[in-house]
């Protein structure tokens, strides 16, 4: 394989790694935010839940920022087209996300119950909305997004804001939210005891079952969906723009990769296995195991979407020929090379010190600790 094509493929894989990192790490914090008001009935209980993720949410959030940065650097056309095309949705995502740091940092600074209540609700919104939007964005990829380019690659989105919230997208959004609730619940189980533990356990089991059901329905839905096939174009590893290819719509096209390479069925199997075993592990009070199984479920779900769509990244429903693929949306060879170099060095380093941070802060969070520590949330 030509080096540039290999780099493009590697960046497609790394993009997957980052998205999974984002879903797992940010997703668990957002899950805790979503279930905060349910697992924590009293103020102290809520503070316990917040302090379980307190030392980590900020570091975890960088997966999101890095995911954005990596798309910008490795697939700038995707970044430009998706962020501007999904404008209103992106703003809802952004506004709900910028409330989070304040929710964590400011909530427990004042004793007032009303004040804390407002921040609890904002943590709920900033936990749930981004995960739904995140999943809904994936849902739209399968259906294509109405955008096209002019001669100099100015992109124009011709759909409406509401079109992005179609039934399939909402299904994907709910799948994403339920996996995030599962991860959040497993995280609360890791750090809490007593009634909070029981509430979280119950939620984890429900979320896992809901996720399995949604994933199965989604699979059937995609099976009947019209997908796209890249039928002619410059191909991999060639400098090009999205104006030079031919794309044809075809029923069931999103299953083509699985048919060509049956070994890929492992990926959706991982998703189902992760959710099913996660359900069992939560039931058996093995919260750490449940957390890891949830991470595997995320790997399977995002991996399934990636494999199904490959080489498409952002198909255009209005002008399919201008769909964005791994080959026509990526950065130049030199940029991809430098970026791989940095990623190879820093990603393991980040994983190493993140694990250390979790190791240092391991163990249960008690109500007494939270009340004694001046820095606690």
């Amino acid at each position: 394989m030509e080096l540039y094509a290999a780099l493009q493929f590697v960046w497609w894989l790394l993009l997957g790694v980052l998205l999974i990192g984002l879903a797992v790490m940010v997703g668990m914090d957002m899950g805790v935010g979503t279930i905060l008001r349910y697992v924590g009935r009293t103020d102290t209980e809520r503070r316990v839940a917040l302090n379980i993720i307190g030392p980590h949410w900020d570091g975890n959030q960088v997966w999101f920022i890095l995911g954005g940065g990596a798309v910008f650097a490795a697939f700038p056309l995707i970044y430009a087209t998706a962020f501007s095309g999904f404008y209103v949705v992106m703003l809802l995502l952004l506004w709900s996300m910028i409330v989070r740091p304040l929710g964590f940092e400011y909530r427990s600074k004042l004793p007032s119950a009303r004040w804390r209540n407002v921040w609890d609700w904002s943590l709920f919104v900033s936990g749930l909305v981004p995960m739904v939007v995140f999943g809904a964005a994936f849902g739209n990829l399968f259906q294509g997004v109405p955008f096209h380019f002019s001669w100099n690659l100015t992109s124009t989105y011709t759909g409406s804001f509401l079109a992005l919230l179609n039934p399939f997208a909402i299904l994907c959004g709910l799948l994403s939210a339920s996996l995030s609730i599962f991860m959040g619940a497993a995280t609360v189980m890791n750090g809490a005891t007593g009634v909070m533990y029981d509430r979280a356990r119950q939620l984890a089991r429900i979320a896992a079952l809901v996720a399995i059901a949604l994933f199965a329905i989604g699979g059937l839905w995609v099976h009947g969906m019209t997908g796209f096939v890249l039928s002619a174009g410059p191909g991999a590893g060639v400098a090009q723009t999205p104006l030079q290819q031919t794309v044809v719509p075809a029923a069931g096209a999103w299953f083509a990769n699985f048919q060509t390479y049956p070994v890929l069925w492992i990926v959706p199997a991982l998703a189902v296995a992760g959710m099913l075993l996660g359900w069992l592990a939560a039931g058996a009070r093995r919260s750490h195991l449940a957390w890891w199984l949830g991470a595997i479920a995320w790997l399977g779900v995002i991996g399934t979407a990636g494999v199904a769509l490959f080489p498409f990244l952002l198909p255009s429903s209005s002008v399919p020929a201008q769909s964005l693929t791994v080959w026509n949306a990526s950065s130049s060879k030199l940029t991809l090379t430098w970026m791989v170099g940095f990623a190879v060095f820093f990603v393991p380093l980040i994983l190493w010190y993140t694990s250390w941070a979790f190791y240092v802060m391991r163990g249960k969070v008690s109500a007494a600790d939270v009340e004694a520590d001046e820095h606690a949330y």
Partner: protein, 526 residues
Amino acid sequence: MHDINVVDLSRLQFALTALYHYLFVPLTLGMSFMLAAMETVYVTTGKEIYKRITQFWSKLFLINFALGVATGLTMEFEFGTNWSFYSSFVGDIFGAPLAIEGLMAFFMESTFVGLMAFGWDRLKRGQHLAVTYLVALGSNLSALWILIANSFMQMPHGASFNPTTMRMELSSFTELIFSPDAQAKFVHTSIAGYVTAAIFVAGVSAWYLLKQRHVDLARRSFRMAVLFGVLATAGVITLGDALGFIGGQAQPTKLAAMEGLWKTQPAPMPFNLIAFPSQRDQTNRGEIQVPYVLSLLVTHSLTGTVPSIEQLEQEAIARIHNGIPAVAALQRLAADPHNAGALAQFNAHEKDLGYGFLVQRYAPDVTQATDAQIATAARDSIPQVAPIFWSFRVMVALGLFMLAYFVLAVIYTMRNRVERKRWFLKLAVVMIPVPFLANEAGWVVAELGRQPWTVYGMLPTWMSASTHSVGYMIFSLIGFVSLYTIFIIVEMYLMVRTIRQGPDSHPDANSSDKQWQAGRLAGTEA
């Protein structure tokens, strides 16, 4: 084609959100290092008071940090949401430093800030100190990569336009990161953050000294802040000069605007200390000039000259004429990427491609551009003089004022007189907003001075925006203004409340102050 209102509204939104973000960043940059310095004293001397000092200031640091993180997200989003053509046009180059910032710096800062806040009882002293240093290092490295990205917009080094992919592509990574503008700007900007933190800590400490509360903590914090501040302020001014020197050569239009230099003059050139520039009449009113100083400042010689706006406009006209065939060739290449004639024409005129885009705003078919349209486009190549002229003077004047303040503070502190000078303590409190103003003024000079380009000389701002409706832009502007207004009120309230509460919420509040004062009376510091 782009609606110009959308471009203006996008600019307004970006400016508001960036200026807002930039209220929190400098304090983070400086406070993180001050916390590391305070904690170093704690670890090396073992005195508990320094642990209390570090923990107290870290509370304020974290309140500020939360908004820095939150509003930083906006900045990342906006490139894609509001400046999508910019993102696809230079993403190959501009995206890389942003991604590396995440990998190298932001992960470090954010992971360890959690341990810094929550790890006091879980980490050994040395480990916690290392964590604090990593937060400081992370936040400063973060600034480095962001400024490398920004410097590409100011001085597009290490990249060239690729007509096959219709975008700019990286040609040399090392040229990109070792851009002289980036290096000078990083040091100038991060040290400006240290000044900001020093004035903040000194001001809050002075308030305690005035109120005679937490005297021990305040006295020690004040001293450290003053030492930190005097060194940093001297650094900012020196580096600011270097930045002016480098930036002036890279962006002559910005320099001419900063100096209000409309007409060409012989060397040695005078410096306009005060003037009221009029964009319409292309002249200044009420000038007060200092002879020789402009040549000295900008070229570091008496014989150097600075190109005037008049001269730069003439050059722009010539470059537009040369850029028109480049744009025309590009349009032919878009239709047929293998057109050898078009490629040759493009290569011959490539260096003025951006100037061709400048006139495309008025003549969508550039080959039909009239002389009047070309003249208008050339006039566009000059930024708004008055706001740049004044922002620059505000920044410099505040910088010199802060230097004077710190020199005085050092003298008083060394003579142990500062607590008797109540007027000076009051001044220190009033000084708190000053570095913030100077930072914002510096941002205006740098970014408004870059107009009409998003990438200087390459990509005009009018092309860079996304193709949205005005309604979308108003919707998002209202959203940002309302959210940000609430945020700043909440943040200020919590800051003031935390300061009022002071370091001790425990009953034995002032015991260590008393011990310290008793120790001083006995001639031995605790």
